[in-house]
């Protein structure tokens, strides 16, 4: 049974309200420590930070439009073996989806973890966020969330948002133990928190807060928001498909790629310790380059760029959760999230596997059925 409670927002200060909530979580028997997005002492980039000290939580800033990395990988570091205590983690919906995939790949565990999800207001790209903070200073996060919460759900999303957030159609925290609800609520007065698991329900009971029920307005807001986002997403799929529909166009799409592989490092679901593309399998003999140049008339260096991106599609598109960190990490602004999400939409549909949504569903390449895909066998 889902439990729902409400939290009074004092002085219209949502951030302080959430900080108080986090303190109560750490004070409860359900968590010993909490991983939450926090501002470093003298910096402005919000980073997942682990603490048990209530005072430290004054630096928690979960509504900042800052998303420097997908925290799923960090939560794996905290849960890959028994951490020896209970950990609560504040995560965005796409971070939870990535974590679901990583748990299936045996990189982390739900066992001693309590996930605090939230209605995600989105984030800016790193560079845009830093500019925003430079202009707005300490008031940045408040300005951002006030505007985001005041926006109509069917309005065009702010173009300050990272592209992946603009077309994100899963902005609610599926698979979180508890969810902080913001949309469709009068957040200047109160916000609500509801449970999605037994663990979550136990937490909310332990906190002894006034129970509530989610207003219909939230459902309506969400519906309208996701409809709008789905529409934008379809348009993005169509544009990306047109921009990459051929090997020559693909070459143009990736013409600024310098093979730095930041996109793979930033990708939460690319979990190999050593990517094949950085092994000596790719230290080609010098004579190979000359042979390529001869055969293909010319060869751009570094080589293996398209090969790398297509391989990543084959290896990881079934697990892509659409977080946009690949785009965020690219030094040359290649629209990677668009590319990955577009292809992932097809591959995930082919295997009926929406990545990150069902912790029990096995990754498609780890299982099979005997009676499937017979149409692709044979050569007639």
């Amino acid at each position: 049974m889902a439990t729902c409670v409400k939290l009074k927002v004092n002085g219209k200060d949502l951030i302080a309200t959430l900080q108080e909530f986090y303190r109560s979580v750490v004070a409860s028997p359900m968590a010993d420590q909490i991983l939450a997005p926090m501002l470093p002492a003298n910096g402005s980039m919000v980073m997942p930070t682990l603490t048990e000290d209530p005072d430290m939580l004054a630096a928690a800033d979960p509504l900042a439009p800052s998303f420097p990395l997908n925290s799923a990988k960090m939560v794996c570091r905290l849960t890959r073996t028994d951490p020896g205590g209970e950990i609560a983690a504040v995560m965005r919906p796409c971070e939870i989806r990535a974590f679901v995939e990583l748990v299936k790949l045996k990189q982390g565990s739900f066992d001693r973890l309590l996930i605090i999800g939230m209605d995600c207001l989105g984030a800016f790209r790193n560079r845009d966020y830093l500019k925003f903070v430079a202009t707005n200073g300490k008031d940045s996060s408040r300005q951002f969330y006030s505007q985001a919460l005041a926006a109509k759900p069917d309005a065009d999303p702010s173009d300050q948002l990272a592209p992946a957030c603009r077309f994100c159609d899963q902005p609610t925290a599926a698979n979180a133990d508890v969810v902080v609800a913001l949309w469709g609520l009068d957040c200047e007065q109160e916000i609500m928190i509801y449970s999605q698991s037994d663990k979550g329900a136990r937490l909310l009971e332990a906190l002894n807060l006034e129970t509530a029920s989610l207003p219909d307005a939230r459902e309506r807001y969400l519906q309208s928001l996701t409809d709008k986002r789905k529409q934008l997403r379809q348009q993005m799929y169509a544009d990306t498909t047109a921009a990459t529909g051929g090997i020559d166009k693909l070459g143009a799409y990736f013409c600024a790629c310098v093979n730095c592989y930041n996109c793979r490092v930033a990708c939460p679901v690319c979990y190999c310790r050593e990517c094949v593309f950085v092994t000596d399998a790719f230290d080609h003999e010098p004579s190979r380059y000359m042979a390529w140049a001869r055969r293909k008339k010319a060869v751009k260096m570094p080589t293996d760029t398209i090969f790398y991106h297509l391989t990543r599609l084959a290896h990881m598109s079934l697990a892509c959760v659409g977080c946009g960190q690949c785009s965020n990490a690219c030094p040359n602004d290649i629209p990677l999230a668009e590319f990955f999400c577009t292809v992932a939409a097809d591959t995930q549909k082919a295997f009926d596997y929406p990545a990150g949504s069902d912790p029990r569903a096995k990754p498609p390449l780890t299982e099979f059925r005997e009676d499937e895909f017979s149409e692709i066998v044979g050569i007639d």
Binding site: T241, T244, G245, G246, I247, D248, K249, L250, G251, V276, W292, R295, K296, K297, A298, V299, K300, T303, D304, T305, I306, F307, L310, T311, L313, A314, H315, S317, L318, V343, D346, T347, A350, F351, P364, L365, F368, R369, E370, E372, F373, I376, V377, G378, I379, D380
Partner: protein, 140 residues
Amino acid sequence: MSEFDPVIIAFVCNWCTYTAADLAGTSRLTYPPNVRLIRVMCTGMVDPQYVLKALLEGADAVLVSGCHPGDCHYINGNFKARRRIKLLKEILPRFGFDPQRLRLTWIGASDGVQFAGVMNDLVAQIRQLGPNQAKLQMVI
């Protein structure tokens, strides 16, 4: 004008299709020399990467061929291979690779005749399809 001579890379499993190819050879069956066989222990070990590499380097088609269902020496490698080929077939056509350029067949160890037949048909089909555009592109 000389006829287009396709290059076909075939990843064949040691236990079935490779044995069939051997049998075709010793039975003096003929099939076109366009097919380059790469022997793997099982189709279940053909990483999508191998297929991508071959196609980007300019192979006109890639064939993956292993044991019939139930005959895989590693129990179910062929079923896993089928999923990977399915995956690649979702990815490659959107970048201009004709689906015909990636094929999966199951040819048993004693099917020398079938092996030669498949190779003949495949080469004919790819000849008709024409060269893989990636061959001449600078992109790798």
